[in-house]
Symmetry: D3
Subunit: 71 residues, 6 copies
Amino acid sequence: MPNITIEGPPIKDLDVKRRLVKGLTEVAVEAYGLSAQKIRVVIKENPPENVARGGQLLSDIKKAEAKLKGG
Amino acid sequence: MPNITIEGPPIKDLDVKRRLVKGLTEVAVEAYGLSAQKIRVVIKENPPENVARGGQLLSDIKKAEAKLKGG
Amino acid sequence: MPNITIEGPPIKDLDVKRRLVKGLTEVAVEAYGLSAQKIRVVIKENPPENVARGGQLLSDIKKAEAKLKGG
Amino acid sequence: MPNITIEGPPIKDLDVKRRLVKGLTEVAVEAYGLSAQKIRVVIKENPPENVARGGQLLSDIKKAEAKLKGG
Amino acid sequence: MPNITIEGPPIKDLDVKRRLVKGLTEVAVEAYGLSAQKIRVVIKENPPENVARGGQLLSDIKKAEAKLKGG
Amino acid sequence: MPNITIEGPPIKDLDVKRRLVKGLTEVAVEAYGLSAQKIRVVIKENPPENVARGGQLLSDIKKAEAKLKGG
């Protein structure tokens, strides 16, 4: 009963979620040699003001990048 | 200071959450021999389009089941 | 590529989130001797009816405390 | 398919683990109204030098307490 | 910077781990439209006495199944 | 009762762990305005063959880097 948790930005398109869980499950089936029915996947969607890299919120990084391009 | 994280479908009834955390805490107190005050519980509620089994979103599995019954 | 997940009550002030991720990243940089760019931080905000201590929901503990103070 | 993760100190007695997962599962079955077969439980065992409270490692807290009692 | 955590039984063959993280990363790249360098994967290996389904430890379920086959 | 989980490479020096949990706790105390006693920290140590970036295990990335430098 492996469990995959994938955390990333929000995904608006339900078809993208469908392909995501199908793809992750197939890879896990291959690795563990277990039936797909034993694989659980959870998608966690984090807003960009709750994730940071290099000590900066992703929401701030994006704004700074947009300014650079716009300027 | 054990920590219990329980992930499942959304729970609408607050009394169900009350019984859930009380019950989980009692089981942990028994197992670890620690006071209830040291046990932390977190409930995580996942929407059915963010959880998959067998490579299929729970929201799709439920729709397919509803169709079968309805048909 | 260390990852820090911090779970706590909701944080409304974006500046508090900024200081939080900056501070956590600096501490991790110091401990691991890695560049800040390799440190990822995720903030998870739990509503008080989804967290318990001593077998009681935080939302109920707060209500009881407010009553005591009010009485 | 709810999932329960319980993190705490190492548990040496296998019977304690058995009662722990049985108890947690029964509480979840009651709360979600799902069959026990849908409940997954994972026990995570953390060594006391990897957990802290009040900014102090549990291993250090325990040593300090033992000294107090011994002295 | 999405993060994938995959929890399952121990994997002894390093090549299986290589294929696992490569496959999971490719699926995430496709879903999020981000470069592979932004995808982090962590494999967590749980011993069978620390995972349960239906309220029973996997280690006990396996023993019972082996007995059935053997007898 | 906020909880911080920090995942990274193994830390051999106990003093580094002490400074790490002390520093993370201080940052959380500042952000949440709660006493240090309410902050829990857990350190998770992942071996380099269980973490990947860009679809490659850290253990393989390190080997390739060592070769480049050595050659």
